[in-house]
């Protein structure tokens, strides 16, 4: 038996350290890389925020120049939305957890998954490379033309932005396709759609939202880059173009994007709450319908970002009403969670659970201000003011970052095999929660007093100093909370208590594996009989043992049928491969070529790309 386990491990693990770094296709390793990369970028984006708060603490301050301030708020928004939040929840948590929760051994397209990660990493590196070539993007995270067009923002700053976002879109779309196919065809036998974990529902809904929402972003950034570098006139009103075309395209993407982040985050919430109150989630069907409903409605509300652009009243009323209707599914979810906590046998106040409760408080507050700004007359008053900054941070930090921290405290024992320290965890939570409210609540008032967003300083007689100083102090408290998290993580890696398979006695399948899981995840393929398999059946009892021993050196798992999964066929999964890495490198060459408008370089990159693509698509020898 020991040798069989050894053979299974050798089949699934990378053959060498170099191969492990550049060629691995293991969803767990890639998931960890997504999380580490995104966490570093969260730190960088957060530091931008702290420097901006320092600049704004007192009137007429000159901590940074106006020019640097522009670059900072642009990077802060761009990095945290595009390069932190989406890759963290979708790429990071999604990658690591989806195959484990589904009871399978990897994603449907492991090499595509590696490719997605490399493209993500390289686009992030690309946008930071702008520092060394004349300065970071500086026209805001939504880059409205004409400001973002060549005459008004010369230099390469916004070219770096447009190109990096364009290629990141390819990575995100590929990841979404990977998840959809995996969830459709690789669920464990018996995991019918009414037994799918709510996190999986969240990833599925978000992946479909990505498939529909990324094309407008790709199109818009493509057009912007053509305008900037190749002289087209899409957004140039002097030559028949229209700047509002950008706003429509950007927000047809941009509003669903908010929910692309939020939906997996609520999947994390729906997973964590039942575990710590020791009861099944209340209203599973309603939570699923709400998840899908939110994803759907999110495509009908983009104009609420454009209430002040002079559209006609009918359009404004329609989109105002659509915006308000999103409170219906959101309300359903909030009440389901509260009911679950209410019904619970007991409440275990772990740090993870605390972050989720913090989430509930903050998302209700962010939701309230959301309803307020969906009222067109109020929006006209507060648009582009700090009221909006307060609102969007309540929904994005409260609604996404708090569940992410909750998810860290919950799953880090699975990722690393060691528990986090609870005392430090509680300190981390309270610093973060108090700091957040001290920092962002005063911004509501500042906005109502008329303080515009994105201003780099303000006069003394505006009377905004007290609130701004309070807000800055809050930001430092939050930063302290983040440092406590880093310290907690570092020391738990060394002296943390060993976690064991299922430290929280949770019900989903990822807890049936060792912590951290073996490269092949499951020796026996799980057979599922309920929505909380580990609560209802002892692990491994009656599981499918046919793939315990690898056939030859093939990595094997099952493809199952769609609605009521049964084993349909054996899938042979690809070996580790350098192709995704080289393929992504040829995209880097393409990015640089576009940046320099160097046609030869673009052609060479395209040729390399096609060669690697053919190499990639060529079937493995034994399958041919």
């Amino acid at each position: 038996m020991a040798t069989a386990v050894g053979r299974l491990r050798r089949t699934w693990e990378a053959p060498s350290i170099i191969a492990n770094i550049f060629a691995t296709v293991d969803h767990k390793q890639l998931g960890i890389r997504y999380m580490v990369t995104a966490a570093i970028l969260l730190g960088e984006g957060g530091l931008d925020g702290i420097v901006m708060r320092t600049q704004l603490a007192i009137p007429n301050s000159r901590v940074v120049s106006p020019d640097h301030f522009d670059q900072m708020f642009s990077l802060h928004g761009t990095v945290l939305i595009f390069f932190f939040a989406t890759p963290m929840v979708v790429g990071g948590f999604g990658n690591y957890l989806v195959p484990l929760m589904l009871g399978t051994r990897d994603l449907a397209f492991p090499r595509l998954n590696a490719f997605s990660y490399w493209v993500y990493l390289f686009s992030a590196a690309f946008i930071y490379a702008s520092f060394f070539v004349g300065g970071a993007p500086n026209a805001g995270w939504f880059a409205y033309p004409p400001l973002s067009s060549q005459p008004f923002t010369p230099g390469l700053n916004m070219d770096f932005w447009a190109i990096a976002i364009f290629f990141l879109g390819i990575s995100t779309t590929a990841t979404a396709m990977n998840f959809i196919v995996t969830i459709f065809r690789m669920r464990a036998p018996g995991m019918s759609i009414n037994r799918m974990p709510l996190f999986i529902w969240g990833i599925l809904a978000t992946s479909f939202a990505i498939i529909f929402a990324l094309p407008p972003l790709t199109l818009a950034t493509g057009m912007l880059e053509f305008d900037r570098q190749f002289g087209t006139k899409f957004f140039d009103p002097n030559a028949g173009g229209n700047v509002l075309l950008w706003q429509h395209l950007f927000w047809i993407f941009g509003h669903p994007e908010v929910y692309i982040l939020f939906i997996p985050a609520i999947g994390i919430v729906s997973t964590i709450i039942p575990t710590f109150v020791r009861t099944r989630v209340v209203g599973y069907v309603f939570l699923v319908l709400a998840t899908v409903g939110i994803a759907f409605i999110s495509f009908g509300v983009w104009v609420h970002h454009m209430f002040a652009t002079g559209l006609d009243v009918v359009a404004l009323s329609f989109f105002g009403a659509a915006g308000m209707s999103i409170t219906i599914p959101s309300g359903l979810q909030i009440f389901s969670w509260i009911a679950t906590i209410w019904k619970g046998e007991k409440i275990i106040w772990s740090t993870s659970f605390m972050f989720i409760v913090g989430f509930l408080v903050l998302i209700v507050m962010g939701g309230f201000t959301g309803v307020m700004v969906s009222l067109v007359p109020l929006d006209w008053q507060v648009t582009d003011s700090y009221f909006i900054v307060a609102h969007l941070h309540y929904v994005l930090v409260g609604g996404v970052v708090f569940p992410i921290f909750g998810g860290f405290y919950y799953w880090i024992p699975k990722f690393t095999g060691r528990m986090m320290n609870e005392k430090l965890g509680q300190l981390n939570f309270w610093l973060f929660f108090i700091g957040f409210n001290v920092s962002f609540f005063p911004m509501h008032i500042l906005g109502l007093l008329g303080m515009q967003r994105r201003i780099f300083t303000y006069p003394t007689d505006a009377g905004w100093m007290g609130l701004n100083l309070t807000s800055t102090i809050g930001a430092y408290i939050m930063g302290l909370g983040a440092l406590v998290f880093i310290w907690n993580f570092a020391q738990s890696m060394i002296v943390g208590e060993l976690a064991g398979d299922n430290p929280w006695e949770a019900g989903t399948l990822e807890w049936a594996t060792t912590s951290p899981p073996e490269p092949y995840n499951f020796r026996e393929i799980p057979v599922v009989r309920s929505a909380d398999p580990l609560w209802d059946d002892p692990p491994r009892e009656g599981w499918d043992e046919r793939l315990r021993e690898p056939a030859g050196h093939q990595r094997e798992t099952y493809a199952t049928t769609l609605l009521e999964p049964e084993v349909e066929t054996r899938l042979v999964m690809p070996e580790d491969s350098y192709t995704p890495f080289f393929m992504a490198l040829s995209l880097v060459l393409l990015m640089i070529g576009i940046l320099r408008t160097d046609m030869v370089m673009i052609a060479v990159a395209g040729a390399f790309g096609l060669v690697f693509m053919a190499w990639w698509m060529w079937p493995a020898e034994e399958l041919a």
């Binding site: 449907a108 030559a239 028949g240 075309l245 395209l249 054996r570 698509m617």
Partner: protein, 204 residues
């Protein structure tokens, strides 16, 4: 099912049962690219609706002779693909290759005509938003045709190496479906990008 029968189920590349992972991926790719083209057309009409002249800036609408020939060639190039799909299902590998070769020839002819059309354009992308949209939409589609032809060649090479038979021909099916998608998009391009300027009138 015993261990052996689980292992004995058909090998990768076979086509039966629920849609295979690769087929699902192709369908999702078609979906997301379809939305991309739909948004391109929406942008076209958005810019059109804000212009008091279409085409803008006194550009003459494209003469329809060459685009009509292109349309006939590209749309009928789907037929040999359908034939090839049917042929490989019955194991007729030579017929499949013939179908693919015919499609390859027709697709190449389409691109050649498009190149001829481009060489005779009396405007460039930087003239105005109309010109930018025209060239973006037609060139983006042309790139898809080009990639479709590379896929076609790839499948043909594999077919000569004996990768396909009546059970294993997933790549044949997936490439055909993608080609049909690229063809379908052209119908919209012809109707919107080539015909609309004539209907709308140069001075509407």
């Amino acid at each position: 099912m015993t261990t052996d029968s689980a292992r004995a189920t058909p090998y990768p590349g076979y086509v039966a049962g629920p849609p295979q992972p690769a087929t699902l991926a192709v369908l999702l790719l078609i979906l997301t690219e379809g939305i991309f083209f739909a948004l391109l057309f929406t942008s076209y009409f958005y810019i059109l609706s804000g212009s008091n002249q279409w085409p803008q800036g006194g550009i003459k609408p494209e003469h329809l002779k060459i685009p009509s020939i292109e349309t006939v060639i590209l749309l009928s190039s789907s037929l040999p693909m359908i034939w090839a799909e049917h042929a490989i299902k019955r194991g007729h590998i030579m017929q499949m290759r013939m179908g693919y070769m015919l499609t390859l020839a027709m697709g190449t002819a389409f691109l050649a005509l498009l190149g001829f059309e481009y060489a005779n354009l009396d405007f460039k992308a930087s003239d105005n938003a109309y010109a930018s949209l025209f060239l973006l939409i037609v060139s983006f589609h042309g790139t898809h045709v080009f990639v479709g032809l590379l896929m076609n060649i790839f499948v043909q090479v594999r077919s000569w190496l004996g990768h396909f038979d009546e059970h294993r021909h997933l790549a044949v099916q997936n490439v055909s479906w993608y080609w049909h998608f690229v063809d379908t998009v052209w119908i919209f391009i012809f109707l919107i990008v080539y015909l609309t300027p004539h209907w709308y009138g140069p001075h509407a």
